[in-house]
Subunit: 425 residues, 2 copies
Amino acid sequence: MSTPEDHTADHNSSKPSRRSLIGWGGAGLALGAAAAGGAVAVARTGGDADPAGAAAGGPVAFHAAHQAGIATPVQDRLHFAAFDVKTDDRAEFATMLKDWTAAARRMTAGKAVGEGAYGGLAEAPPDDTGEALGLKPSRLTLTIGFGPSLFGRFGLADRRPEALVDLPRFAGDNLDGARSGGDLCVQACADDPQVAVHAIRNLARIGFGKVSVRWSQLGFGKTSSTTPEAQTPRNLMGFKDGTRNIAGTETDRLRKYVWVAESDGPDWMTGGSYLVARRIRMHIEPWDRTSLQEQEDIFGRDKGEGAPVGKAKERDEPFLKAMLPDAHVRLAHPDSNGGATILRRGYSFTDGTDGLGRLDAGLFFLAYQRDVREGFIPIQRNLATDALNEYIQHVGSAVFAVPPGVRDADDWWGRALFSASPTEG
Amino acid sequence: MSTPEDHTADHNSSKPSRRSLIGWGGAGLALGAAAAGGAVAVARTGGDADPAGAAAGGPVAFHAAHQAGIATPVQDRLHFAAFDVKTDDRAEFATMLKDWTAAARRMTAGKAVGEGAYGGLAEAPPDDTGEALGLKPSRLTLTIGFGPSLFGRFGLADRRPEALVDLPRFAGDNLDGARSGGDLCVQACADDPQVAVHAIRNLARIGFGKVSVRWSQLGFGKTSSTTPEAQTPRNLMGFKDGTRNIAGTETDRLRKYVWVAESDGPDWMTGGSYLVARRIRMHIEPWDRTSLQEQEDIFGRDKGEGAPVGKAKERDEPFLKAMLPDAHVRLAHPDSNGGATILRRGYSFTDGTDGLGRLDAGLFFLAYQRDVREGFIPIQRNLATDALNEYIQHVGSAVFAVPPGVRDADDWWGRALFSASPTEG
């Protein structure tokens, strides 16, 4: 499914702000990046609000102040993977990150991983697995994150950001360790699922021996929108949720709630963000036997239009006091959480059955924020009394520090983290 | 991803043949169906070659001589579910099949399951789960099949078709019982995965207490094409496989290899077909470390273009003797199997990880044929020596009798099977 919002370019992103130049290390560097990054980067480099997305099917810029895949208009499909590190060799790991960056630069541009993918040496393994040959770039974005456990390795302990806290245990959590955590993660979003699956698979291939896939999640359909003109996609409960999401064009809100500022520290995270991933299983069978009135009371919206209680339209300002005290919209609203605001980017999943005749389906929740302690944690604490909890359960959880964007052809994922560390140069 | 082939209407389908009229029970009935079936049926009813698919995003006819979802141009996404029967009450089960049929008729037309889905009684559960509200019909097709085990119930033993054999054990099979078999199945194909997931979920909801989901499979991308003008989509090994598939427009080949003829028996299967479903796990990590030459030798095609060994283009006639004796294309070719030919309709899947750091990914193989004993079984037996077997493993298996299409608004899935049974009317 391709919706109109996918093709909305962010015209606000063309004017770099002072802050974006700081994020890039200065104007000279920013301009250099545009020159060095090739055609793709030239076309869409230099924004503060992040490259918002290219024309239909086209590439999203890889070189930018912030990583793409956050403020970028939400693509239709997701493949997300968390990795465990298998090497103790810091140089080997850094080399893998460089190789990953080079591969990501090519894949997001719609190219095969290697230059001569199928004109190369027949006796060598192909340098691309091939299943995306002939497919469009499909607005592929690849977004890397570093988990708390990574900082227990490679002499990185004192580089761990304060804001990268281990998530507390929340009421109702029923977490599966095999679907939680990870030393690092890559979020692949694209309008064509084959393009997203191909990207994760090729990174796993390149990382062979250095990392292994800890868990992965396919998201078949987006449940959030970062383009306010579009309707919010429905989740598997049939409701529009997260209507008041931060838009990719809302530079001020992104700066306030999503991007790590220089003053936040550490330096290597300036222009980055923090990602919380939660696998939320929905008990859809009991939900489906719940009356329409109760469903609407639980959400605080009507099901057909998605309007808040007592209002006519989805985007009408909600009147929280008209809702039940434990209505989902009411409890999740910034006014109930001291203003806590996150950028949501979740996807619906269905992973077969649970062995008990029920579909294993739900929401793979992804939220970006400037500080997890002021974003997801207070919101989720407040949702402890959410009426929705009778019908959902959090079964997987992870948190990652998402570094800023790759600046130019010489930059690589994690360079600032690894270069500035006391144990290496 | 939407490809040009999706929008190809089958202009050959507008002229009913004698055989299709027999399948429909006579011309009067056929015309009656067109009148009774509403706008959708009127638009595309009466073909022998099956409704080939509507215009972009539009509905595919539900009322037809054959079930849609077989010769229909392959949609982008799949949700497939196998069900176990939980009731011993034959009338209750037949009522459920009628309810399923009514729901399928509406959903394939792009409508909610119930008339007044969200204008109904607030104190009742909604008669549609809602997540497909506002989405296009997306060429949704719903195709039902009856497994061998169903015929052990409801006094149907003597109605079991001879051709519905239990599959033999094949060399290399490593079947998971929890992902095999099933009393019945529904294949949902659509260009929007949310539409396919919604359809299966609502059938499961309607069937609550009567059936439960035994296993289900999401297919994120098609690997076959039934429209010869389009390129064959690549599988997760990066190859085009099944290039010489039966096209939805090849009426003669469909009649010869796919549709059950009146002379084949039993009567209730005339115009139906047999479906073999196999979950084929790919060991993609070792595959990715195999040289390009070896990969191409194993398939008998080049990877870039997909041309058979020694040929220039994908659709050039393969010269089998130029290939290694155990090349996949050579062993799967009709010339190596006494002419055995099947219609392939498989999808790629990726279902997270296997707990060993590897992606659980592969091909969900779906093949339709007039007789399993002359289709899948000889082909799969011949593939015992397939060089590809080092890199794949069959881990799930099922076979189903797929009855003919629903004729009109009064007809329902399985009517001929249940009505003609000795223990009822």
